[in-house]
């Protein structure tokens, strides 16, 4: 099977994730979509790793997973804290830091 197919799938997943991040307002869904984008990246990394017969890409993929896990942990913590303070769970309403 040619590598192209893997990369096409990866690109599709990435686009779905990106579209989700851009269009959805619920932070939980945004986080889910971010995970999709990261996984698309991982898929591409592993594909290339296979292509070169080299383990580096796999190592990177694992590091990305760890980073993603950490990010989600922090992100969920922030969302829970917001919920506790009865703030709107809507990324568009959270714009206190605008210029």
């Amino acid at each position: 099977m040619s590598l192209d197919w893997y990369l096409v799938v990866s690109a599709m997943i990435f686009c779905i994730g990106a579209a989700g991040v851009i269009t959805r307002r619920n932070p939980l869904v945004v986080l889910l979509c971010l995970e999709l984008m990261l996984n698309a990246g991982n898929l591409a990394l592993i594909t290339f790793s296979r292509m070169w017969g080299n383990g580096d890409g796999q190592v990177f993929a694992i590091i990305v997973m760890v980073v993603a896990a950490c990010e989600v942990t922090v992100g969920l913590g922030v969302i829970v804290a917001m919920y506790r303070r009865r703030l709107a769970i809507d990324v568009d309403d959270l714009r206190e830091l605008h210029g």
Binding site: A18, V21, I22, T23, V30, V91, R95, E96, H98, G99
Partner: protein, 667 residues
């Protein structure tokens, strides 16, 4: 001998540092004794240097010695060099000797002032600066000493810093002296341009080869004269000296007698090889000296503040010296410097004693009848006044008449200077004895009456003698000046020694008899065109000595007629010649003239810079313009910072997509 000369400098410096370090711990009086001792040590070392110099053989009487190189690049040899020769040794002897006595006098006079430690630290610094100036072996050290003296005079003139008039006078003195410093520095540049060396001896050895009235050298020498005129209070830079009377009386004594104002005389005498090849510059010096001596003498006739009368007398006498050294009468000029240091220091000390008896009042209109109640002050001041008026056998007689005889010997337009010099001598006798008679003769005033009964008058409230403003006697204001020579041993010693010197010092240089100063200074002035040739014949000298003595006596007689025999005469003369009197009372309107020419335009420029230029250009255009630019730029990009996370993500994705597309199309 240069070893000892270096120590001459070190002693006052050490004294200043010790006093400055210990002023919080020790009582003020100790600072006084330390300061006096430091200057006395300096005097002893100066005497040793003098003795060593006398031992040196004929060809080794000019010794330069270098402590270390300050900078030695591109041919500039800026070294820490002192030059020991008869001229500088004579200067350090007089400076340290008279300064020791002034310090001794100050120990009592300033005793009750709260700032006494500060006072003595400044005083030692002043003497150190002056010694550095006269011992300088190159222009570099000379400029340092020159500027230090100006700074020290500022500190001492505005010593009572809470008096507005005192700080104003200090600033005036400082600014005028800085003008002089600029002249001196620029003049040094001109001379350096020609000779390529800053060293005195190197410069002088080349002076002969340059040729008469070389343009650059004349410019340099005239600029040096600007420095000399500012320091020595010559027309038109003389206005600061009368205002400098705001300082304590011993400070006036120090500035007028031993230090500061004599620096200009010394400078011209030191630079004689340059002035002899630039007669144009030397003539400027002689004419300005002569103008000053007559202008200051006439002003002194009308002043009523006792210290100001003596101050104008100093300008007048320095005028004689400047005229002498500019005309080539170096020995006579330096001789007059020495005798003047003795009798002028003495006159100021006497004035201090009288002011002490008057509880701080300096106006001669309020004085009178002190002769019997201040006998010691009267006798010593009389010796000083006779010396100043040029009455034989007092010292001033010999020095002043030698100057005039030598100037006449030059011939040409110097004859005019000579005649004016004699008119000045006559006026000197008149105003000196006007002062003496008004203070010591006549009806006893209340203060003198009190003193006759053994009480010193105490001022109920202290007032500024210039504007009558009420003062307290806290730090920064004058302490109670209640010391009179009659009751203070140190003051008595200082005045006694000076009175003896003022009386007998003339014996050092009696024409054809002793001539000691002339012989002593010969090594310095070897090779001078005028030094040996300006030697008026005996009949000439003695004729004009007699004329000088007669003029002095006539002056005293006139003063006696006006102020003692017929007391109303002065008021009648004043009413008769009202315009002349007003003109003299206002000091020939020099202050107003300088105000209109320099102070007002520069103040206007300052106001323009401050209020118009700074506000429009600096604040609005440069500072305001920069902030405005940043503000406008930030306003433009602020819209992009919406805080909407999703729009940021969209922009990011679009951007990454765009970059990816670009690379895809490239490949």
């Amino acid at each position: 001998m240069t070893d000892f000369a270096w120590l001459v400098l070190a002693a006052p410096l050490a004294g200043m540092i010790i006093i400055a370090l210990g002023f919080k711990v020790w009582p003020g009086r100790l600072a006084g004794w330390i300061g006096t001792l430091a200057i006395f040590a300096s005097f002893v070392l100066a005497v040793i240097t003098f003795l060593k110099l006398q031992d040196a053989d004929e060809h080794h009487k000019q010794v330069a010695s270098t402590l270390f190189d300050y900078a030695n690049t591109v041919g500039v040899d800026a070294k820490l060099t002192i030059l020991v020769d008869p001229l500088s040794v004579m200067m350090i002897l007089v400076v340290t000797g008279v300064s020791t006595l002034i310090h001794l006098y100050s120990v009592t006079y300033m005793n009750r002032d709260e700032g006494i430690s500060r006072y003595f630290a400044y005083l030692n610094f002043f003497v150190f600066s002056m010694l550095l100036l006269v011992l300088a072996g190159n222009f570099f050290i000379l400029i340092i000493g020159w500027a230090f003296v100006g700074a020290a005079s500022y500190l001492l003139i505005s010593f009572w810093y809470r008096r507005k008039t005192a700080t104003k006078a200090g600033i005036k003195a400082f600014v005028i002296n800085v003008v002089g410093d600029i002249g001196l520095t620029l003049g040094t540049f001109f001379i350096f341009k020609h000779t390529g060396t800053l060293d005195f001896l190197g410069t002088f050895s080349q002076a002969g080869d340059i040729g008469t009235n070389n343009g650059d050298l004349v410019a340099g020498c005239v600029l040096l004269l600007v420095g000399a005129f500012a320091k020595s209070a010559q027309v038109p830079f003389h206005t600061w000296l009368a205002d400098a009377m705001e300082g304590p009386t011993p400070v006036s004594s120090l500035i007028h007698a031993a230090t500061m104002v004599t620096a200009g005389v010394y400078l011209i005498a030191r630079m004689w090889p340059l002035y002899e090849v630039t007669p144009a510059a030397a003539n400027v010096g002689a004419i300005v000296g002569c103008a000053t001596l007559i202008i200051a003498a006439t002003i002194a006739l009308a002043q009523t503040d006792i210290k100001r009368v003596i101050a104008y007398s100093t300008m007048s006498q320095i005028g004689y010296m400047i005229m002498a050294v500019s005309s080539g009468a170096y020995a006579a000029g330096m001789f007059h410097f020495m005798t003047h240091a003795f009798f002028k220091a003495l006159l100021f000390m006497g004035a201090g004693s009288v002011i002490g008896a008057m509880a701080g009042v300096q106006d001669m209109n309020k004085m009178g009848g002190f002769r019997k109640v201040l006998p010691f002050t009267f006798i010593t001041m009389l010796a000083g006044a006779l010396a100043l008026s040029g009455i034989p056998p007092f010292s001033g007689f010999f020095s002043k008449d030698e100057i005039l005889a030598d100037v006449a010997q030059r011939g040409g337009f110097h004859w005019i200077l000579f005649v004016i010099g004699y008119i000045g001598a006559f006026i000197t006798a008149v105003y000196t004895f006007r002062m003496m008679f008004r203070v010591f003769a006549g009806k006893r005033v209340a203060e003198a009456e009190e003193l006759a009964h053994g009480h010193l008058a105490h001022a109920e409230v202290h007032r500024n003698p210039t504007d009558g403003e009420v003062e307290d006697t806290d730090v920064g204001f004058p302490g109670p000046e209640h010391y009179i020579a009659e009751r203070a041993i140190p003051m008595k010693i200082a005045m006694g020694i000076l009175a003896i010197l003022a009386t007998i010092a003339g014996a050092l240089q009696i024409p054809t008899v002793t001539d000691a100063i002339h012989k002593f200074l010969t090594p310095t002035f070897e090779g001078s065109k005028y030094y040996e040739s300006l030697n008026p014949s005996n009949s000439f000298t003695f004729t004009f000595m007699a004329v000088g003595a007669v003029l002095g006596l006539l002056g005293i007689l006139l003063a006696w007629q006006i102020w003692v025999r017929r007391p109303g005469t002065s008021a009648r003369i004043q009413a008769r010649f009202q315009p002349v009197y007003t003109f003299l009372w206002n000091k020939w309107y020099f202050d107003e003239l300088l105000d209109a020419l320099f102070v007002k335009p520069i103040a206007w420029m300052g106001r323009f810079a401050n209020q118009t230029f700074e506000r429009l250009v600096i604040n609005d255009a440069i500072v305001g313009g920069t902030t405005m630019l940043v503000r406008a730029g930030s306003a433009a990009v602020r819209a992009a910072q919406s805080g909407l996370m999703r729009s940021y993500a969209a922009v990011l994705v679009l951007g990454v997509g765009g970059v990816a597309l670009y690379f895809l199309l490239q490949s």
